[in-house]
Subunit: 203 residues, 2 copies
């Protein structure tokens, strides 16, 4: 039996454009017959390696001003309710640690949508454990247990390894998509990446 | 009589993604019933104001490696013949000065396509007057006269003013598109910008 083609989806909970792709990828991938491999990671160490100690949208104000307007327009185009976050970027570390557990257990997609909506549609402090706990509970998941497992040394190390892998793969921003050895960067490349996967030999 | 909606098209002859938009914009704009106002400018001063003394694709190697692969893929998608330039970026100053004359006289579109093809499809030194002269001659234009008029103090000042205007408008990269007060950045926003223009009240 032929395997379905797969797209690796690299995203960060602090990232505004990751929000757009997290909200869109499942339906688009299903339509293209492509499996999604969710790869939460941290942009912070990747940016530090490029010499940025903050989001480039904060370091370069014209880029930042443009990004927020672009994001609002795209959210409207996609029918997503955008609300300007009171803080940017928010730490995605805890959310990413929890998301790794969700990858193992099969609930990473709804969890990721809920966290990114909390950040960019609800202006909630996703860096705080109480917010992540509420999100888990709303999804019917055992919040206390998962928050404890998220911060075990083993799970922390797993996220660090995933982030190091991102840098090794040449990633420099989020969202990014990989199909085989092909790298696609940006929410605006999601459709191209899925088309690449659809045309690739399966398996 | 209602005026047709207009898109301002800000581009730079050194810019790889400007190549893609210069090659695509006329047909897409015609299909959308939108006029194109060609705005050649220089990215160098804009980048300097952001703290970059070179193309960010050179300053940040992972971004640069990605850009060339992305460009090759997009060129294939659009049916454009890409050839990796032996030098990047090449100076677009002379080409932009000549292009300003082309805006006045109505030949800016074919001139811009020819120069950007020379840079990204033919690996020619578009910073050199002999190359720009050959391009003008091939288009049936008076090369010697235009090259002389390109470097008059008045025309140099006009390009400087246009570049300062770009910075005032919040531009930070090329290609960029403006529809009324709305700014769109990147070849991947060309279709969105045209759609915005199409839906805008004319005039």
């Amino acid at each position: 039996m032929a395997e379905r083609p797969t797209i690796e989806f690299w995203y960060e909970f602090a990232s505004s454009y990751s929000w757009l792709s997290v909200m869109r990828i499942e339906a688009l991938a299903a339509g293209a017959g492509v499996e999604v491999a969710w790869r939460p990671f941290l942009l912070g160490p990747v940016f530090l390696a490029l010499g940025w100690n903050d989001s480039p949208f904060n370091i370069y104000p014209p880029k930042g001003r443009y990004m927020w307007r672009d994001l609002a327009r795209l959210a409207q185009k996609y029918g997503l309710p955008f609300r300007m976050p009171g803080r940017f970027p928010r730490s995605g570390v805890l959310a990413a640690r929890v998301a790794l557990l969700g990858v193992e257990e099969g609930w990473v997609a709804p969890f990721s949508r809920a966290v990114l909506n909390a950040n960019f549609a609800e202006d909630r402090e996703i860096g705080e454990a109480v917010v992540i706990g509420e999100i888990l509970s709303t999804l019917g998941l055992p919040a206390e247990d998962l928050l404890a497992r998220a911060v075990t040394p083993e799970n922390k190390l797993a996220l660090r390894a995933q982030t190091e892998r991102a840098a090794e793969l040449g990633l420099f921003g989020a969202p990014s998509f990989r199909v085989g050895d092909e790298l696609f960067w940006g929410n605006d490349r999601l459709e191209d990446a899925l088309e690449w996967a659809r045309r690739s030999p399966a398996g």
